[in-house]
């Protein structure tokens, strides 16, 4: 099966220096909008925040909406446990992100960009603003009407959800909105809005610089290009790595594991826990041609060795969700509490082991019924942990 996967390959695009940003920006805004959109679409870049929506299509949709007030928003509310790549991008190559936002603005017809930076990264605000000042100066020089400002979050995981982020920008509680309407038509201030993850924007810079082919040639069908991975947990070399999409988890563990890897959490607390026996049949990428299970990820890869209790892991995640759910919708607010209370009760013997099955059903209901992605995804880690490590939940 493995031959269907790509071998693990390190690549180096994202952190290649951004000193040529003025050239890239000028070059890009002298191309036609259609040409740029086509370039993006043919690159098959998908959103790197985790959800994997095709970026070219996203920009195209907003560009087609009528209206002279549109926004480009960079989602830097990187809150998924195990993810820390966006911070690194904004620290090391901020101009790539700013340039990408401006090009996006040019394409969709927006003259305002906002970077929503999580409160935990406040130390980045100042250097980012300095970069923005220089960037704005250049924009003026070339008569490009595009301004960018930084908006600070204040400690709320859910604000990474795009519509919750809009609410927060508007000075409200970060509660996700009903969808539809979607941001491309009705986003920040109820205006057409493109909202992209930091890394996604940085990739578009690569695409505008080298052309779509260079990006497209990496990865496999439906999972093109490279991706940043935040590697943490029981690993001798924690850190941030840019890898070609489509590798098998087995290869990944061979590269990053400590020789005793029991399971890997792919995609953070809202992602999936993959046990050792499924490493070889799991690939990292979006659903498609890959054999076996393919798991999308915002880039969080957490490794656990055999000293770790999977019960403690789940307990920790559920505690996290119980606190970070916005609390507005029933399945997420109460569901998270029930899952946590439930596994504790089973562990203590207050509820019989089959109660886990009721909880699995509940997590499925949460997936079907929660208002936003958070509540929907709690089931991912819950089910993958309980199904694969059931005995650890009980004894």
């Amino acid at each position: 099966m493995i031959e269907q996967h790509l071998l693990l390959k390190r690549v180096d695009f994202i952190f290649v220096q951004d000193t040529d940003w003025e050239k890239i920006l000028q070059k890009s805004i002298h191309r036609s909008r259609q040409e740029l959109i086509n370039e993006l679409i043919s690159s098959e870049l998908k959103g790197r925040g985790g959800a994997g929506f095709p970026t070219g299509l996203k920009w195209k949709l907003t560009s087609e909406v009528q209206g002279n007030e549109k926004y480009v928003i960079c989602n830097a509310d990187e809150g998924e446990p195990g993810t820390f790549k966006d911070r690194e991008i904004l620290t090391r190559v901020p101009y790539k992100v700013l340039t990408a936002m401006a090009v996006c603005g040019y394409i969709v017809g927006a003259s305002n960009g906002i970077i929503y930076l999580r409160g935990e990264y406040q130390f980045l605000e100042k250097p980012l603003n300095e970069a923005i000042n220089e960037f704005s100066y250049f924009c003026k020089k070339i008569n490009l009407d595009f301004t960018i400002k930084v908006f600070m979050g204040s400690g709320a995981y859910i604000c990474g959800e795009e519509t919750a982020l809009f609410e927060s920008l508007e000075g409200k509680r970060g509660e996700p909105r009903n969808k539809p309407p979607y941001p491309s038509v009705n986003g920040y201030r109820n205006k057409p809005t493109v909202i992209n993850n930091v890394e996604t924007l940085a990739h578009t810079y690569t695409i505008f610089k080298y052309g779509a082919k260079k990006f497209y040639d990496l990865g496999v069908q439906y999972s093109r290009g490279s991706k940043l991975f935040s590697v943490s947990g029981d690993t001798p070399k924690p850190g941030i790595y840019e890898l070609e999409l489509g590798m098998s988890l087995q290869d990944f563990v061979e590269e990053f594991g400590d020789g005793d890897t029991k399971a890997v959490q792919v995609g953070g607390a809202s992602g999936f826990l993959v046990p050792r026996k499924k490493f070889s049949e799991t690939a990292i990428g979006y659903q498609g041609k890959l054999i076996g299970i393919s798991l999308p990820t915002g880039g969080s890869m957490m490794l656990f060795n055999s000293s770790r209790s999977m019960y403690n892991l789940l307990d920790n995640y559920l505690e996290f969700f119980r606190e970070e759910s916005c609390g507005q919708c029933t399945p997420c607010r109460i569901g998270c509490q029930q899952l946590l209370a439930g596994i504790k009760a089973v562990k203590k013997g207050d509820r019989p082991a089959p109660y886990l099955d009721k909880l699995l059903k509940l997590s499925e209901t949460m997936q079907f019924t929660a208002k936003c992605g958070l509540g929907q995804s709690v089931a991912n880690s819950f089910a993958s942990i309980v199904e694969n490590f059931r005995e650890e939940m009980i004894y």
Binding site: F321, C329, T330, P331, G342, K361
Partner: protein
């Protein structure tokens, strides 16, 4: 031109206009989808997730209240998946909810209980999340009891307080499992901007927000042979009460209500409408007095427009939000409080009863009236003028408790002495009614002629528009009122405090000027009051309004100044409007309050 969308619901084809949500589409073909956080009067939240339906081909279920129909959708409202998920949602809500149903004030009236019953939730597998140790009940307000342990976080109350009332006493606070509905800094409802209007109470699906009830106190008073217990009933009660007792909305049950009150054992059943008529004479005179000062005496600081003061929710609102306009309020007490003050003076004197032994009970469509009655200044008679205020809903409970078969009751008349009223008083219960009643009287006082509208129906002031403005031109006034010759008497009517804010802001920024402003805190006026039957919504308000107008037309006398009992009370007791005794008993003052 909106497009037509073709969908099927449970296999039945439906055509709807663009942007119709699934819930409304289902209603067209008589498919009921259960809801909790949805309420017709307020914006869609989509957060309880009870109304979920399956859209074929989609993995996730869609909230019917928030999802617009799209061409070709094939919707299932009762598939196995929907049923299982919906049951889960109800079970979850029950696990968070303090389900002591048999001890709950809303027992039998709770929407969550109803759903649990409908879906036959027979087991409670989930872990009880309600923690008795940490929860407290906010019982400090004389009007509203807030019990967070019963709250299902549907946020209907928050949206009501914000959208309908613009008060924002309630907000959503904290997040995750700690998320709750809270006042500023979790203070008591009695310590914040809450106007006690009770619109939240009227919309709460469970027992989390209820009126503070005085049912037992009233029963006790009735059972005490030494006490003379008198009840007054507000105009809007008679067009709402029936809904609690098996009648469809829009039925007038005045005669049966009087009959039921007598059976309950009240010693006298009287009518707030009597003091509504009296209010018109006092308030009308006050208006003319202010106009005279402004137009004839050319005084500069006459507070105009003069604003009505019958609605205690509105009074508390202006005390919090626009204290600089307190002088604009009419100093007239509300009809309830005028009634209370006269009951323990005039009535006691005429009937020769020791006022100490009189218990003054009122039945109101309103929860704010409970607060009003408890105001320290409402002791004009030397006693607390109104001892207990019951809502329409509480009266219905008492009628049921007493085993009265309401529908079979004969119709009776109010007792006399403060029981006579006119059509002008009845319309106090609907938005615009006070203005209309005032115009019927004021115009006639000034010109000696009836107001020139067919059947005395001042059409321009009727309707459900949030803020309505109009005017009447005074021509050929009587000698005493010559200064009003040719004056366009401008008046405005607002109902619901959000609309009151609109009107006040126009006054404040000078974009509108008028002489008279009527504000009722509740949408639709008192007929849509917080103490009225649940549900109350736009359609129901319209039906109750029609009933009130019909009651007006059916009255032999339809102008306040022609109420024989009103004429008599001035002759025998009060002297004249705005006289000394009036000032002592019928007028009041207001106070500035904090905005937070």
């Amino acid at each position: 031109m909106s497009e037509t969308i073709h969908i099927t619901i449970n296999g039945i084809p439906v055509e709807v206009e663009e942007n119709t949500v699934i819930l409304d589409a289902a209603k067209r073909i008589n498919v009921v989808i259960p809801t909790l956080c949805y309420h017709q009067d307020i914006c869609v939240a989509g957060n309880c997730r009870v109304c979920l339906v399956e859209v074929t081909g989609q993995k996730r279920l869609a909230a019917a209240c928030a999802t617009p129909c799209e061409e070709g959708m094939d919707i299932l409202t009762n598939s196995l998946k929907v049923r299982n998920c919906r049951k889960h949602i109800i079970e979850l809500l029950l696990s968070e909810h303090h389900s002591d149903c048999t001890k709950c004030y809303k027992n039998g009236k709770c929407e969550l209980q109803f759903l649990a019953s409908e879906y036959k939730i027979m087991t409670q597998d989930f872990i009880e999340l309600y923690d008795e140790k940490v929860h407290t009940i906010d019982n400090f307000s004389p009007s509203i009891v807030k019990d967070d342990s019963k709250c299902i976080r549907c946020q209907r109350c928050v949206r009501t307080c914000e959208e309908l009332q613009g008060v924002n006493a309630l907000s959503v606070a904290y997040k995750g499992h700690r998320m709750k509905i809270s006042t500023f800094y979790e203070k008591s409802m009695n310590e914040v901007v809450c106007t006690n209007c009770g619109q939240c109470v009227n919309r709460c699906p469970t027992g989390a927000l209820v009126e503070k009830n005085y049912i037992e106190e009233v029963w006790e008073a009735i059972s005490n042979p030494d006490l003379h217990v008198v009840v007054q009933t507000a105009p809007a009660v008679r067009v709402g009460l029936g809904e609690e007792l098996g009648y469809p909305a829009g039925n007038r049950v005045t005669g049966k209500m009087v009959s039921a009150l007598k059976r309950l054992g009240f010693d006298a059943v009287l009518d707030t409408d009597f003091t509504a008529d009296l209010t018109i004479l006092e308030e009308g005179s006050e208006l003319l007095h202010r106009l005279k000062r402004a137009l004839l005496d050319k005084e500069s600081n006459v507070p105009l427009p003069m604003a009505t003061s019958c609605s205690p929710g509105w009074i508390k609102y202006i005390e919090h939000m626009y204290p600089e306009y307190l002088p604009n309020l009419s100093t007239c007490k509300s009809p309830q409080q005028m009634f209370g003050a006269l009951l323990k003076t005039y009535y006691a004197k005429v009937r020769n009863i020791d006022p100490k032994k009189i218990v003054s009970v009122s039945v109101m469509p309103c929860t704010a009236k409970k607060f009003e009655a408890a105001r320290p200044e409402m002791h004009g008679s030397g006693y607390r003028d109104v001892d207990y205020v019951l809502t329409t809903r509480e009266l219905a409970i008492m009628i049921k408790q007493a085993g009265i078969n309401f529908a079979q009751l004969e119709e009776m008349e109010f007792d006399r002495l403060m029981g006579e009223s006119t059509g002008a008083a009845v319309i106090f219960g609907v938005t615009g009614g006070v203005t209309e009643a005032a115009l019927r009287t004021v115009y006639e006082i000034v010109t000696g002629r009836e107001i020139p509208f067919k059947n005395l129906v001042v059409l321009p002031i009727r309707g459900m528009e949030g803020v309505r403005m109009s005017s009447v031109k005074i021509e050929n006034p009587l000698e005493e009122w010559k200064f009003l010759e040719g004056v366009e008497l401008n008046y405005a009517v607002a109902h619901g405090l959000t609309n009151a804010k609109k009107a006040m802001d126009q006054i404040k920024n000078g974009s509108a000027s008028f002489h008279f402003l009527e504000v009722m805190a509740c949408p639709g006026g008192c007929l849509g009051g917080g103490g009225q039957p649940i549900p109350t919504n736009f359609e129901i308000r319209k039906k109750r309004a029609a009933a009130i107008y019909a009651e007006d037309l059916g009255k032999p006398i339809r102008k306040s100044h022609e109420n024989p009992e009103v004429i008599k009370i001035y002759k025998d007791f009060l002297g004249q409007p705005l006289g000394e005794l009036s000032h002592k008993l019928l007028h009041t003052s207001y106070q500035t309050r904090e905005r937070s």
